[in-house]
């Protein structure tokens, strides 16, 4: 029944390539997280404090990002924008789609974080003589950061996993590289098995690092 030969050699020979592609994966995930956090903060604040068209735009962004598949968003940035003459490179496509998606999810996290902090705190800070800026940066933001820290790590893991869709638009991150190598040697199972292990290790490293950081950051 199991007369299948697992060919290690071609995979091991291209392991450096795979690891290097893993760095690309990590790079695009981190970059999209940074962009996503910035846009997500803006979206969350816009949904809470603004009225009119700007608020609608922010709401539409969040709902679209949360209610359509990530793959659809990727195709939209890839093929959809190509229709209006905007041809992006695979790297930009993946980065744009990931950032769009992350921003939508993070906006909801940030909104929850801001709403979890009672208004009285800012009033107390103001009555102690702090300026609005001081009370935000010293009282509100640290608390919000603590609340959203865990969702933020989760989103980081999601960003790494989602970047694997890049293989469908020809982006040579870990999955794309794997597919290219696999289709060259026809050892599909071996390559994807090793890639799965690499992804698992990357995710574990991220989670471990975030836990380490949390014990350093949140010590009273």
């Amino acid at each position: 029944m199991f007369d299948y030969n697992f060919h290690w050699r071609p995979v091991l020979k291209s392991l450096p390539d795979l690891l290097e592609a893993g760095l690309t994966t990590l790079q695009v995930a981190v970059l999209s997280m940074v962009i996503g956090i910035i846009i997500g903060l803006v979206l969350a604040l816009a949904r809470m404090h603004l009225r009119g068209p700007l608020k609608w735009c922010a709401s539409i962004w969040v709902e679209l990002a949360r209610n359509t598949p990530a793959l659809f968003q990727l195709f939209f940035f890839g093929f959809g924008l190509g229709a209006i003459g905007l041809h992006l490179s695979p790297y930009t496509i993946v980065l744009a789609a990931l950032s769009f998606n992350c921003a939508g999810y993070l906006a909801e996290n940030f909104r929850g974080g801001f709403q979890a902090i009672p208004d009285t705190q800012i009033r107390a800070a103001r009555s102690l003589g702090m300026t609005a800026w001081q009370s935000y940066t010293r009282i509100i933001i640290p608390q919000v950061f603590r609340i959203v820290y865990h969702p933020l790590t989760n989103q980081m893991v999601w960003a790494v996993l989602m970047s694997s869709l890049g293989m469908l638009v020809g982006f040579r991150e870990l999955s794309g590289e794997t597919q290219a190598l696999a289709s060259r040697t026809y050892r599909i199972f071996e390559y994807f098995a090793v890639t799965a292990v690499i992804y698992y290790v990357i995710v574990k490293i991220i989670l471990g690092a975030s836990r380490l950081l949390a014990t350093r950051l949140f010590k009273y």
Binding site: M1, F2, Y4, E63, L64, R66, N67, T68, P69, A70, L71, F72, F75, F76, F79, G80, G82, A83, I84, V157, L161, M162, S164, L165, M167, L168, S175, I188, F189, F192, A193, T195, A196, Y199, Y200, V203, K204
Partner: protein, 220 residues
């Protein structure tokens, strides 16, 4: 009269029907794998809750693998692995298998959270009233715990529904694959992707809204 030949026929009403049919297929594979995944996931969650450290050593890491490896890699891996052990699965069945296990891995954690939410005193009270173990599970844990985690279960289910778009890499013609086929023929990516996105949005948005209101009502 000179007959004119055009290689690309535009978008026709027929194609809308094709898309609707594909949306139905998306719904079919999602509902099937979410149902199987939920039943499995509740079972796993029960093991995780009751088994404590034995489960934490065996089942926990196993389910963790399905959460830390990209779904697309899992799909390709399983699709290529099935023939090795002598199974000949079509894309639909492979998709259902992997999506179900993936869903089960996510639901297991949700289910365990629900069981932990019930609290030991309540369960002891039920047992001391003369309920059997199963009665306690059915009449105490299920209503109280289920209510606590229902919104997050909806979130997981919606996530799996959106992730079912990935089965298109195996060649199952669901909504996103169908839209790609139409794009190839009509060369109108923007229109067709917008339609596909609208289908996904129509499937997902009402449910996520409903879950949000439910969460708000139950929280108060």
């Amino acid at each position: 009269m000179e007959p004119t030949i055009s290689f690309f026929s535009g978008f026709q009403l027929n194609d809308l029907w094709f898309l609707a049919e594909a949306a139905w297929k998306t719904l079919l594979i999602s509902v099937l794998s979410i149902s199987i995944g939920t039943v499995l996931g509740i079972f796993f969650g029960w093991i995780l809750y009751e088994g404590r450290w034995t489960a934490a050593l065996t089942l926990g890491p196993l389910l963790d693998v399905f959460r830390s490896v990209p779904l697309i890699i899992q799909l390709v891996l399983f699709y290529n692995f099935a023939p090795i052990i002598g199974l000949n699965l079509d894309p639909f069945l492979s998709g259902v298998v992997i999506l179900s296990i993936y869903c089960a891995a996510l639901v297991a954690n949700v289910a365990r959270g629900g069981m932990e939410a019930v609290g030991n005193t309540m369960r002891r009270a039920a047992r001391s009233l003369g309920m059997s173990y199963w009665q306690d599970l059915r009449y105490v844990v299920l209503p109280i715990g289920g209510r606590a985690v229902f919104p997050s279960w909806v979130g997981v289910a919606l996530g799996v529904m959106k992730d079912s778009a990935l089965v298109s890499v195996l060649g199952y013609i669901e909504l996103l694959k169908a839209s790609q086929i139409l794009i190839t023929r009509t060369q109108e990516p923007l229109l067709i992707l917008t339609l596909a996105g609208a289908f996904y949005f129509a499937l997902s948005y009402p449910i996520s809204r409903y879950a949000a209101t439910l969460e708000k009502r139950w929280a108060s």
